[in-house]
Amino acid sequence: MADAVSLVDLKFEYRKGRPVLDIPSMRVAAGERVFLFGPSGSGKTTLLGLMAGVLRTTVGQVQILGQDLVKMSPSQRDAFRGSHVGYIFQLFNLIPYLTVEENITLSCRLSPERRKRLGGKSLEAAARDVAARLGIDGLLKESVTALSVGQQQRVAAARALIGTPELVVADEPTSSLDHDHRERFIELLFEATKAAGSTLIFVSHDRTLQPLFDRAIALPEINRASKLEAAA
């Protein structure tokens, strides 16, 4: 089985001559739960953007599930992300004018590929199942603005997980939660990704969470660009 993520000689810069990322190699095996950490500004979110195919580089390889995003057209990358990747933001994950259920099913409604992955289940049933797993099935008809931050993050996780994408990327999803909620959220996320068979890349600067994961990757250590900057 191909690696979930395989980066080779990846380089990225927002402005010419100011590289943010220069990663000779990074691999994440399928089904792995990886803790990716680094200080603020070390390029974590940029790396996630590249892995999700939102940002684009022309140098190196970004292989996700065996396919090279660098070689894809922008619309192919959008379609690929829509069907194979679940993404959780640090905060404000939800569209404010949709209900919890509409937010969860939005990815399936936007992407026909993702919709097919439900395997004939109705959108409502799929949303109910994934919400039940995350303990928010009582909130499906609520407006998202009425939810607590912890509940909002669970809705975001449900949306990332619906349709069982192969890769789930979470960008500091727990940084705004208190300690108890943090552990509980990660537990639920693990259960749900395990049930979906998804690979999880979890980004944080909070090293106390590290022991919960299979493996940890320190971005500054694999990123030559940050060393360059430190040297300069």
Binding site: V54, S75, Y87, F89, F92, I95, L106
Partner: protein, 420 residues
């Protein structure tokens, strides 16, 4: 479909700005259609000031002048025509009916029109509307008078009142026919045409008030003829000012017009009212162009309002766009979301605008007709109206591309992190 539902929910979520935008577009659309309505209504009212008349005949002179004094009761004739000439054409085999006008006197600023009862029977305006009486009846006696509705509104006369006719058409006339008062026998219903602004007596009445006048001056003392001594069959009508003519078959109109202008007994001219009215409208029509230009600017301002409101909402919606990008929405979806939103706003604005203008013209139609003499038919938009509506929706959609492209570039720039 998803994008449409997103656009719909997103607009609903921003109720206040959405409503304000829709209302501002609706008002510009209503104004645009309203002006268009007034424009066509004015032109229609104008060209239907007189109808059913094939030719207007008067002494030779300017055709515009003839139109003005015969139809609009404005200005005055340079010359009269003899009653014999009138009779020649009135009895012409190709002529269905005629209405003679004898002008030159006034009553407190309103023109006095000497005519026959053919006027009440045959005169038509606004296609097929006839003169109707609000009170009283057609005049029979020499000193009977019928009043137009504007005259009654201004001077508060009622049937049975006595009025005095002044010589000449100035309001400050010092010569009047006080010795021969007229009795109001009829009041006309409102027509919203110049018919309302006149006082109608018979040709005999005109002749009677001038019977003892000579050389354009009032009678010498002792030479006055008392009103009760005047008998209808003793009066001899010598001249009139103009007459309206209807042919039996309209094919004869041009032939008859030529016959009038080549009439040997005296120099006459005949004009076709429709042609003359269209000519006159062209000379005063620049006002409508100006009106239209102003309205277009109002519409542009309304559309710019929409652009501003969509554009300013983008900053608070950067997060939303990042989320949509993260779950697989490509640039096309982001662009179509915003274009759909502006399209929906433009459509909603147009629909509301049409509703406003219809509601308004339905309510205001009688008032406008009464106040301004302008008859505005409540009818579906004209083809120009449809073009305007189409242009509003299309420009709404096109305008949507401005914030859409900006949102797309934001999304590219932001990636998955949003710099707020």
């Amino acid at each position: 479909m998803v994008v449409l539902s997103l656009a719909w929910h997103s607009l609903k979520n921003r109720k206040l700005t959405t409503w304000l935008t829709v209302i501002s577009i609706a008002l510009s659309v209503a104004l645009l259609l309203g002006v268009e309505n007034v424009r066509t209504g004015a032109r229609e009212s104008f060209s239907n000031t007189i109808s059913g008349t094939d030719l207007i005949v008067g002494a030779r002179g300017g055709s515009l002048q003839l139109l003005l004094y015969a139809v609009f009761r404005m200005g005055s004739a340079t010359n009269n025509i003899t009653y014999a000439s009138y009779q020649h054409f009135a009895e012409h085999p190709a002529v269905a009916w005629t209405i003679p006008y004898s002008l030159g006197d006034s009553h407190r600023g309103f023109r006095v029109v000497g005519t026959t009862n053919d006027f009440y029977q045959h005169y038509k305006f606004r296609r097929d509307r006839k003169i109707e009486f609000a009170a009283g009846k057609m005049p029979e006696g020499i000193f009977d008078v019928v009043l137009g509705s504007d005259v009654v509104d201004a001077l508060k006369y009622k049937v049975g009142d006595k009025i005095v006719i002044a010589h000449g058409i100035s309001t400050k006339t010092i010569q009047d026919h006080a010795d021969k008062p007229f009795t109001v026998v009829g009041i006309l219903k409102r027509t919203a045409t110049p018919v309302d602004r006149s006082v109608y007596i018979s040709l005999y009445g005109i002749e009677a008030v001038h019977i003892d006048w000579s050389d354009g001056g009032p009678p010498m003392i002792g030479e006055e003829v008392p009103a009760d001594k005047i008998k209808k069959d003793e009066l001899k009508i010598k001249q009139i000012t103009a007459f309206l003519l209807r042919t039996k078959s309209r094919i004869d109109t041009l032939r008859l017009q030529r016959e009038v202008s080549t009439f040997e007994d005296e120099p006459l001219q005949a004009i076709i009212p429709g042609v003359a009215l269209a000519e006159l409208w062209r000379t005063i029509g620049f006002a409508e162009d100006a009106l239209q230009v102003v309205t277009l600017f109002v519409l542009i301002v309304g559309m710019l309002g929409m652009l501003v409101s969509l554009y300013t909402s983008l900053n608070e919606r950067r997060r939303e766009m990042a989320i949509l990008r993260a779950i697989g929405a490509g640039p096309m979806k982001i662009i179509s979301l915003l274009v759909l939103e502006s399209g929906l706003l433009a459509i909603a604005g147009s629909v509301l605008g049409v509703a406003i203008i219809y509601g308004l013209s339905f309510v205001a139609q009688p008032l406008i007709e009464q106040q301004f003499g302008l008859y505005l038919p409540v009818q579906p938009p004209t083809s120009t109206g449809y073009i305007y509506l189409g242009a509003v929706v299309i420009s709404g959609i096109l305008i949507g591309f401005v914030p859409a492209v900006k949102a797309y570039r934001n999304a590219l720039l932001d990636g998955l992190s949003v710099r707020l």
